[in-house]
Amino acid sequence: MKRVQYSNPILPYALLLPQLAIVAVFFLWPAVEAVRASFYLEDPFGFGSTFVGLENFKDTLTNSQYARTARFTLIFTVLVAFFSLSIALLLAVKADKVIRGAGSYRTLLMWVYAIAPPVAGLLGVMLFDQHIGPLTELARSLGWNLQVGVTPFDTAFVMVITAVWKQIPVNFIFFLSGLQSVPKSVQEAAAIDCRSGTRRFWTVTFPLLAPTGFFLLIINITYALFDTFGIVDLVVKGEPGNNPITLVYKVFVDGFRGNDLGGSSAQSVILMVLVFLLTVFQFRMIERRVHYN
């Protein structure tokens, strides 16, 4: 905080009021409500609700469909995070090295950041369409009869590719800025000591990038869990059926289509705990990063 601060009996409260009002009505209230609803069994026709304790959680966690969704979400998250991070790192390293056209490469590799997930999802659906999709044709020529929405594996494949495509730019931006902040003196010293560029990367540059990498890992996990909603929704064309879906999508389907308010709330609370842990972990990482500097 500042050494010099104003003091005024009303002004600071007035300045905070809009933010606090919005936080109270649209954040705290619904968050508390989600936790409360998870302990109740709501009548689907709106005739009150009964307290059932941890019953909703028990039902959710023992449900085989929930387990399947959780397993898919885990695999999906790992694949999306792994591929978007490694491809972005490769591109960032190359973009940091070249001299000619560095600016153009940077622009060409980051602009997809601005595209919304559902728009990316629509493109994914079109590119892998049975009838008009060029990538389906390519797969067919390789002997793979790719059917999105019919074969669960193929649906998952398109989801992962689309999600990776959409996420590479963010990772690229952060990796590039991380690489550019590696001090010149360190790079030169390393260049004198070690001639192999590959070895220099793994022993000097990569460890220096580790804090950025950890930070991005959390960002990517959060992305794969939550922000891919639009991609999933478009790729399954709004009709999950037996297609693979993520946990957040299941909260939406159960709550808004299935009218299972208690179950959906219990799932929300489970996700809340997950995000909470991720965020706490992230803040600890950031603190450690500050200590390094």
Partner: protein
């Protein structure tokens, strides 16, 4: 050495193409007519029907939606993008100013209350949020669309970080000159924050424009549809059609991408700086 450089360029060009080709296909396809796309698949060349397609999707309430034109959706997207960005910046600057520059009762407590919003994204409290907005009668309204999205305190944190880095001497000097808190804020702090405001504006505009889940729930009336929210309707109609108007679907997708992409590309350096700095 020369050979290594060549390999680097090859990798980068491959990456750039990976990013570029899907969107180019979308755009080129939108310049064809429905029948030729139906027969020959997505297109990689100019089709010559650019004006027809875009005129139809912008001005006619055709196929994909019953009552709205692309222009209405574009307008709604603009309102969501600008409304969200401006609302967020104003509210979070005021809050951050109070937190950093004032000593007052419960200041720390309020800071932590706002801080908690970073812990839970909208997606995990979506059902009760929806019920509350419905209860308040804010369904199918711009305020219902925008205000709940502002609840997350990201902006407040960006500005808090920035204000903390502003030298203390400025406040001292302002006080000696007899400038009160309001004058200091308007005449010194806001002008100092210009670049920061611009960077956050870009990030927030893109974020607001690209919202999907929340608009899907809150707007059931087509006249409030944004382009991004309309994607699902577009796909649903496209899937159900005899000869799908792929060119028009792609044209709407291009319109949904264009404004945020243009802003990000033009103000690239601000945007990158804002993104990287804000996460520290």
């Amino acid at each position: 050495m020369k050979k290594v450089q060549l390999l680097d360029h090859a990798v980068l060009i491959l990456g750039a193409l990976f990013m570029l080709v899907p969107v180019t296909l979308a755009f080129m396809t939108s310049t064809h007519d429905a029948m030729s796309v139906y027969k020959d698949g997505l297109q990689m060349t100019w089709g010559g029907h650019f004006t027809d397609t875009y005129k139809t999707v912008l001005t006619e309430a055709s196929g994909f939606t019953k009552s709205v034109t692309g222009l209405t959706m574009l307008y709604n997207s603009m309102i969501l993008g600008f409304g969200f960005a401006i609302g967020k910046i104003v509210i979070s600057m005021l809050a951050a100013y109070a937190i950093v520059y004032f000593r007052f009762r419960f200041g720390v407590f309020f800071f932590w209350v706002i801080f908690t919003t970073l812990l839970l994204p909208l997606e995990v409290r979506i059902l009760p949020s929806y019920e509350i907005v419905q209860g308040l009668g804010m369904m199918n309204s711009y305020s219902g669309l925008i205000i709940p999205l502002i609840a997350s305190a990201t902006g407040t944190f960006y500005f808090r970080q920035f204000f903390k880095s502003v030298p203390d001497e400025l406040v001292e000097a302002a006080r000696i000159d007899g400038a009160g808190p309001v004058k200091f804020f308007i005449d010194i702090l806001v002008p100092l924050s210009k670049t920061m405001i611009a960077a956050i504006f870009i990030i927030m505009f893109v974020y607001g424009w690209n919202q999907y889940l929340w608009p899907t729930l809150i707007t059931t009336d087509e006249t409030f549809f944004t382009l991004v929210r309309g994607m699902k309707q577009i796909l649903a109609v496209w899937v159900g059609a005899q000869i799908p108007e792929t060119n028009q679907a792609m044209a709407l997708a291009v319109l949904a991408m264009l404004p945020p992409v243009v802003i990000v590309v033009i103000f690239q350096s601000w945007f990158v700086k804002g993104l990287v700095e804000s996460e520290k």
